[in-house]
Amino acid sequence: MSKILPLLTGMLLLCTICTIAQTREISGRVTGQDDGSSLPGVNVVVKSTNEGTVTDSNGNFRLAVSGTNITLVFSFIGYEGQEIAVENKSVIDVAMKADITQLGEVVVVGYGTQLKQDVTGNVASVSGTAINNIPVNSFEQALQGRAAGVLVTAQNGKLGQGINVQVRGSSSISAGNQPLYVIDGMIVNSNNLSGTTSSTNPMSDINFNDIQSIEILKDASAAAIYGARASNGVVLVTTKRGQSGKTNITVGMQYGSSKPTNNRDFLNSEQYIELYREAAVNRDLASGFDPVNNPGDYPGSFLEDIEGTFDYLAGDTDWRALENNTNWEKEAFQKAGLFNFDISASGGNEKTKFYFNGGYTDQDGILIGNSFERFTGRLNLDHKVNNRLSFGTNINIARTTNNRVADDRQFSSPLQLVAQSPLTPVRDKSGILFDDDFNPAMFYYPATMELENSRFVTSVNRNIVALNAKYALTKDLSVIAEYGIDLLTQNEDRFQNSKTEVGRAVNGYGRSAWAQVFNQTSRVYLNYFKQVNLHSFDLTGGMDYQTTTIDRTRAEAQNYPLDGLTTLSSAADPILTTGSFTKEIFLSYYARANYKFNNRYLLSLSGRYDGSSKFGTDNQFGFFPAVSAGWIISEESFFNATNTLSFLKLRSSYGITGNADIGNYIAQGVFAPEAYDGSSGLSTDRIPNPDLRWEKTLQFDLGLDLAFFNDKLSVQLDYYNKQTNDLLLNREITGVTGFQQLYGNVGSLENTGIEAAVNYAIVRNEDISWKVGFNYARNRNKVLQLDGDNDIIDPSSTRFMNVVKVGQPIGVFYGAEYAGVDPANGNALWFVNEGVEGETTSIYAEAKKVVLGTPTPTTVYGFNMDLVYKGFDLSILFQGVAGNKIFNAAGAFMSANARFEDNQTIDQLRRWQNPGDITDVPQARLFRNNGAQISSRALTDGDYLRLKTITLGYSLPASLLSKISLTSARLYVTGQNLLTFTKYEGWDPEVNTDYTSDTSYFLGNDFYSAPQAKNLIVGIKVGF
């Protein structure tokens, strides 16, 4: 592939050689047909030649032509082209008609903007209007299904938690896999700051009603200007700015409710008793006792044991009379409300423009005890001092309060309630909660108790403030200086009183963990834009200096004399005070040159020289260049533009991006403080690696942009190949060294894929507008090499199956292959997978591990439709993934044919009972593990298709509005996640338990993970 590139570039350069003839002069002015304003930058070309010019800032042009029968072609992005015969005219004024397609849109790129038509890289653009007012917690979720090649997965349905975004596949194993987030030019904090294993999401501090557009830079050419941190793609968020003219005030309000997308069925009391009695008797029979038929065998039998257990579990009810039947799943969920309020004002004059927004969100989670509240305020201000100098500021403040629930792995996590027996009532007859200790009728501590006796609140104060100034040194050259801060202060406040599992032995436990992240960027860059005849140059270059400090303090205390006094100062025993401080610095120099000739030949060179404090002293700097070229074939004279094919562009890019998303200081060999027996000590912590350097991704992209039917139908096709080398691998090393891991630059992996985006404006006239869009991406992720001859990273989990294996996608499920049940005896069977094909064994240890599937979808797609008819609007978004598997790690407890006392999923009733039974659920054996070992038994297809969003709105007609002094008014109803089509039998196929969110390749696991919320809201938006 790399051979095509120089060829292509050379070809494009050749075309720039042009000849200039001289005779008479023609002049004129080009204006827009709709408002009569002058149009600068319009291409004016003599038909069938390369001669031409562009209009100046007042829309005027001057052109020397020779010969007769001359026709001028006027073309401009966003307008329909025109051809005018010169004849003997010397002045030609043209009014151009606006085009309805999107090719004329301006897209935001790093350190600037570009016309979409001129972009030679791959940038997915999502407009703010598509995602505003969507009832999700964080804006990344609203991107689901909107951009080809962008996979968005929420961990689970807990509000405020981490969201996994993958652009063109995973390009790293141990370093970060998340894209770089840039808001109005400032790289912001997007890293998890949670003090527990479940991650939180700093992006949920952003009010996405402020968002004007989101651009996702996917290929090397688009992203290389962010060089060192661009391997995982870059998400550029642009917020709204004021326009000169009348001040627009808009007020929006939403009210709605949420519930789980799905329920899972568990045994009721009668079924529970039947199954567990059977499980006990099976054990007795196996030991030669028959307590059912020989009463003498009853004492000391498993049956006696389980009936005693039933007595215990039933609390103060009579299980023999089936007095109680608790649906514990229902107890885990709550009636969840959602309220949003948003007020914005924007306007200004020629000199000063502003955009103001104040927003409030109050959202309940579907899980008991989970909620999220957010206040945001924004002021974006632009002021033009004179023709040379302008400055502006963006001020964003936010306060979020997240009532969190325990991590999926904790007994106190709400959905772990499903493990409780249906025999156990929630409360006894006097109204006191049952638990495993104070009023015991359970084996597992219940979330019901936790909820009434604890608090787990994460509050965040966030200020993102940026100042910028732009000074035009000459007409073509400007210098831009920016300074921005992102200050995030977070407190995770937790209190568990003496009735909770954590607090009971220590008479109440409290914790406060503060973190302050201060990220500041100073930047100066130059922009040069010059148009000479048909040549257009756009040059950008500058430097960034960014520091990020993270300052943490945590205090823990126990022994609270009164449950009512819950702050740390009320505790008698402080048990821990700890703190840390880390700093990272990026020093970067970057440049980009875009060249365009005759509106059809495009060339872009960009690069970034990036230094980071994270790397070894020998390798702090890395260089990340990219080149791309485009050819708008449809502009060529030989191209006979027809109505059918109205636009055709071929583009290609190649470049290197980097990844530095690893912890601070890890290249240094250090000892860390530890303590023993009241003395301070130092323990080995890391082996030094002064050679540690950037992880590099080489990416090739070949794309084709097409438009048909007068640009009504546009198609974008891409092929890409990403090779990531020098992986920043936290490689496994032998424990004999006294260490288990050491970061090194070893190994490589590859992502190859195709993307397609199709948009079709089917109808557009005064009454009706109907658009549909479809995006599709397929990615193949493959680990090419790990450390030396070691071909696997197997973290030795007995609960999860994800590994990293050469030749396979990252995080493949690797384990024993379940072979069902031996019809003769009810034993669980596994395939041996070695030697004789199809051979099975009932001894788990004899089953060789095999690759069982990938946790990451190979195909991601979305379909959207927008229909506006008179005052009504309807928009629909379907979104889906395919090719992945989901592992229910909780299956070892909830679908384990009555191994422990945990309530079982209803499918366990099809257990093996008698010789000859053909089933996939083994014989129930109390306290015996018959098939619950991790294997493909708990693995299912993860494909799904979801009606992500559907909105129906009605806007009041202008005639009515004027009577009530409004400029606009719209009422709407939105449904989120209303329909989900999947084969997955769990709660929800969009899942990855927070239990394992600290290991990047532990993916696709369900462990009592909350489903996504199904939301239904009504909203109103009024403009004054």
Binding site: S287, G308, V385, L389, Y445, A469, Y471, V479, A481, Y483, E501, R504, A505, S522, V524, M543, Y545, L576, F581, T582, E584, G611, S613, T617, N664, Y665, Q668, G669, V670, F671, A672, E674, A675, Y676, D677, G681, L682, S683, T684, I687, P688, E732, I733, T734, G735, V736, T737, G738, F739, L742, D789, N790, D794, S796, S797, T798, A845, K848, F893, N929
Partner: protein
Amino acid sequence: MPFNKNNMKKYTQLFFGILACTLLSACDNPLDLNDPQSINNELALSSDQNVKLVLVGAYDALSNGDLFGGNVLRNAELLAANGEIRFTGTFPEPDEIFAKETGTSNANVSNFWYRSYRTINIANNVLGALAVVNEEDRDEVEGEALFLRGLSYFELVKLFAKPYSFGSPSERDAVPIVLTATNGLDERTTAERNTVAEVYAQIIDDLTRSASLLVTSENQASRATKESALAVLSRVYLQIGDYAKARDAADAVISSNKNYALNGSIADAFNGGTTNEDVFNIAISLVDGVNNMQLFYAAKTFDGRAEIEITQKHLDLYEVDDERLDLFYVDGTTGVTRTGKWVNKYGNVKIIRLAEMYLTRAEANNRLGTTVGATPADDVNRIRTRVGLTPLDVVTLDNILNERRLELVHEGQRLHDVKRLKETITEGGTEYTYDNNFLVFPVPQRERNVNKNLSQNDGYTNN
């Protein structure tokens, strides 16, 4: 500020001011940052004070929950359960060990391996930096580091290799021996397993040197002393069947000047800090350390996981008057019996008690027909009378071993006694002889993935 030519100039200056500031901030290579949380390797090993801090770090490593913070004892108990205890918990790792179906990916086992070598490596760091330690403290520091290394290898060899009593120890694989600090990836990453005999030789060398270097006069059972080194040596010699040396080492502990004494009640030996009965323990406090024995054994009332029950089969082993029965309690929540040896989350983990030294001396004297220190009957009766049992006039080997079994129960010793005495463990009708493959852990698969030269133990498949 209205715009005019003068102001224009100011703006320009402001502009280039910002530019200059930005550039300046980058001048004195700002990218060299040090971790404020830790100190670099050279510095950590550069002074007397720092090397002593690293030594404390080695104790901290030893006290990890996967090692003597509890799991080393717990795992031995689970393997030797013999129907006398039952594991009812939900963690798959201890469940596998209890079932004697330990997987090659068992995280408790791979952590035991790694954490042991981590302790060894920190000890090796200390041993490699003795030159900077003040001369008057050098023997003490070296002795403690050797103790920690010897003790770590002893646990490794007992659980990753067949017992010394089985076959030829010089022909069977144990674990790799590493005696120098890790500073990079060198030949140790491809090390083969040394033999059982080699590892035992190393352990005896480390502990013997440790015992001769340590001269501390006070009893500080949470740190290594001459006596704790001797006490571990007595265990080592019992494992290899060298009863004379086992006897002498135990006798040296008993007759030392540390004022060791049995507590009036056995209950006083547990759930607290150091007592006169403690020869070695792991310090736990409110702010530091974990006690995994308490975590798994204790009822929820004591903030335990309540996952190990004591069965009637075990309770039937005692004489009715035995006050050790009073140590057991009925868990109010589940109605099952649990041991009272491990109920205080913040109690030290008792590793070696004086009682064991008496029983070791008694056993060795009995086997050798000697009465070094005391007669076997006297030693055994010290243990018996404390728990309200009548003294025996004559003791047989069986009496001694039975007393040992009951006195040291739930302290992680039974498995190793079974192995050296070539006894059998019975679990749900299945018999596990002392040399059974599954009474030995598999070499962790993760270790074999990264070092192809590590062999696997018998009975474990390659996965």
